[in-house]
């Protein structure tokens, strides 16, 4: 099962499902299927989506579930390398 952040990136870019669907040349229903994780896209479609969002494909798709957004925001930033004992 592949996890994705399509909905997060789509809303962040201010795109509707229909607009995103037009940008990657698919049916708007397919965006809904992708966002719910009901359909795993082809490599080509995954790359197209990443290109539309302007990020790497790994930022949009992952083999492991993405951590919740709140956990990512609240996570302490990693200390600089020199400070570690």
């Amino acid at each position: 099962m592949i996890s994705n952040r399509i909905q997060i990136f789509r809303t962040d870019r201010g795109l509707s499902r229909k607009e995103l669907a037009a940008l990657v040349d698919v049916n708007p229903q397919t965006i809904g299927f992708l966002e719910r994780g009901s359909y795993t896209p082809s490599v080509e479609l995954a790359l197209q989506l990443a290109r539309v969002f302007g990020v790497s494909v790994e930022a949009v798709f992952s083999l492991e579930p993405f951590p919740p957004l709140a956990a990512q925001i609240g996570a302490p930033s990693s200390p600089p390398k020199g400070d570690t004992p």
Binding site: Q29, T30, L45
Partner: protein, 164 residues
Amino acid sequence: MSAPATTPGKTPSKAYLNFSRNTAHALSVGALGSLSLWFALKFLLTEEPGPQQAGLQLAVGVLALAGMVASVLLFLSTYSFRANAPDAQIDEREVTERNRAYFRAYQTLVFVLLLSYIVAEFGEKAFGWVPTRGVIANFLTLLIFAALTLPAAILAWWDAGDEG
């Protein structure tokens, strides 16, 4: 990749009837249900038309007409377009769904054929019943309409609606 001939997911609304999901469900049940009932009731009809047979004859005729009209309407719907569209006119998810729908329809028809073969063989061995030419013709009619409408009907039942 070359650009598709038309935008994926766009159905030519002028050529195909854009029924709602519920209407397509009703049409698929109407088409396959009416024709199956028509086929079953045909067995009750005797060769000599009597007063008792008149009502049954009418019911059989109405069922055949209703089933065929519903089949044709479903065949002209956007679900049928999706079921029969070339790869370039639908997106990759729709291609996958179309292929799954055809495979499911194929499995169903093979099951029905196998079952009817067993019934015919058993009927002959156990009761000496051999299907007449008329029964075989009716059965083929049922199968043809089922084969034409099943992929579109399956797609209609799988449709998740506008929200996807």
